[in-house]
Symmetry: C2
């Protein structure tokens, strides 16, 4: 069975958990506290970040985008409509562009800073980066999310899903990042009905369910987090 | 013919220029000043970053890692030994891991801050982010590069090239980032002879030559920048 070193609030880990669910892969989850910098974890991924997927053979696949490419190469089954990285070069370009958009840009501008200020700083010891949140960083991220939400709304006003007419890794990554921000109650859903409808569709998939049922100790999710008709 | 929107000092653009050279592809270069945020450029890449590769058909491929995957899918010729993304799933994992290492981690910790403080701030108007360099950021980047150089040295002490026995995109990306820092004279080559020997090999490839011959107005390269026996 596959093993995934992850953290419940790491959006990149969530993206991979949801993707594994879409592929029907069972996975053993290991919660990794990357700030402890465990030596045996650094051997799996010298960059020291989650997620890391490990095969029974011992092969370690570190990083969300590397894992997505790997799953596509080793697990995609065309008869089951697993075109999560596209059917042709042009659609693959659009999917990878949006994967990078959410896993890097959205993470740098929205999910990364909000999780850092509102979750990690609160739960981590001072020595590992814990402490008082930086309200300027929170304000900037809450402002940034508005144009990302508008961009999602614009994309799905032209297409069924973010990168085209089919569900792809782009949708799974975007929804994974949004789900962490939604847990904190920081997604202004009322600003974009089209984006909200798209998220409701992705969030309703069985692959998403395990994530919606998880709750962090001492930090309740927003009222609508797990609600499929939010 | 392909068109590449690039900037001479953008390491991600350099990586793609070198890769196109390895594939024997002619390319029309367009220097893009991303800080001007030209509307027609934002249409090609809403993220507003270089590089963007454009096909004659009009298809725009934005971002270094997306372009690398695209070149591999559309231009790789196995008879010419173009295994820049690997021959099997395990070697592809290692190549993509290192691509992400240099294009994201090295860029965030070394090449991005050094170029920003030492090049862009000096050449850009205040309104576009120009101004006095932040010496703390420069000091941090100059400290960070030392462990990256040691990591390169460690990798090539076990293998012929960064990701294995063959030249791959990992080498081209790493060398592209290093070349921008080397222009500024900020690579402490004397700290790692193995890394230096590896860089000398990559830098000697014909695909690298055009980049070594370019000089920025008002900013001479370091004495050894274009020297193949530095």
């Amino acid at each position: 069975m596959l093993t995934l070193f992850h953290h419940p609030f790491c959006p990149h880990s969530r993206f991979i958990r949801i993707s594994l669910g879409e592929f029907g892969e069972d996975v053993k989850l290991v919660e990794e506290r990357v700030w402890e910098r465990r030596e045996s974890f650094l051997t799996l991924n010298p960059a020291g970040t989650t997620p890391v997927l490990v095969e029974d053979s011992g092969l370690a696949i570190p990083g969300a985008s590397v894992i997505a490419e790997y799953l596509n190469e080793t697990r995609a089954n065309n008869s089951q409509n697993h075109h999560f990285l596209g059917r042709d070069a042009a659609s693959s370009v659009e999917i990878r562009r949006l994967l990078s958009w959410f896993n890097e840009k959205f993470f740098a501008e929205v999910s990364g800073p909000l999780l850092n200020e509102r979750f990690y700083k609160r739960h981590l010891p001072l020595s590992a980066g814990g402490g008082a949140p930086d309200t300027d960083a929170m304000r900037a991220a809450r402002s940034n999310i508005r144009y990302h939400l508008a961009y999602i709304g614009w994309l799905v006003s032209q297409r069924a899903y973010l990168a085209g007419e089919q569900l792809t890794f782009a949708d799974l990554a975007a929804a994974a990042h949004l789900s962490t921000v939604d847990y904190l109650g920081d997604v202004p859903w009322n600003e974009d009905e089209t984006a909200k409808t798209w998220y409701a569709r992705v969030k309703s998939r069985p692959s998403f369910r395990p994530i919606l049922l998880e709750v962090a100790a001492g930090m309740a999710p927003s009222a609508t987090y797990a609600d499929l008709d939010f």
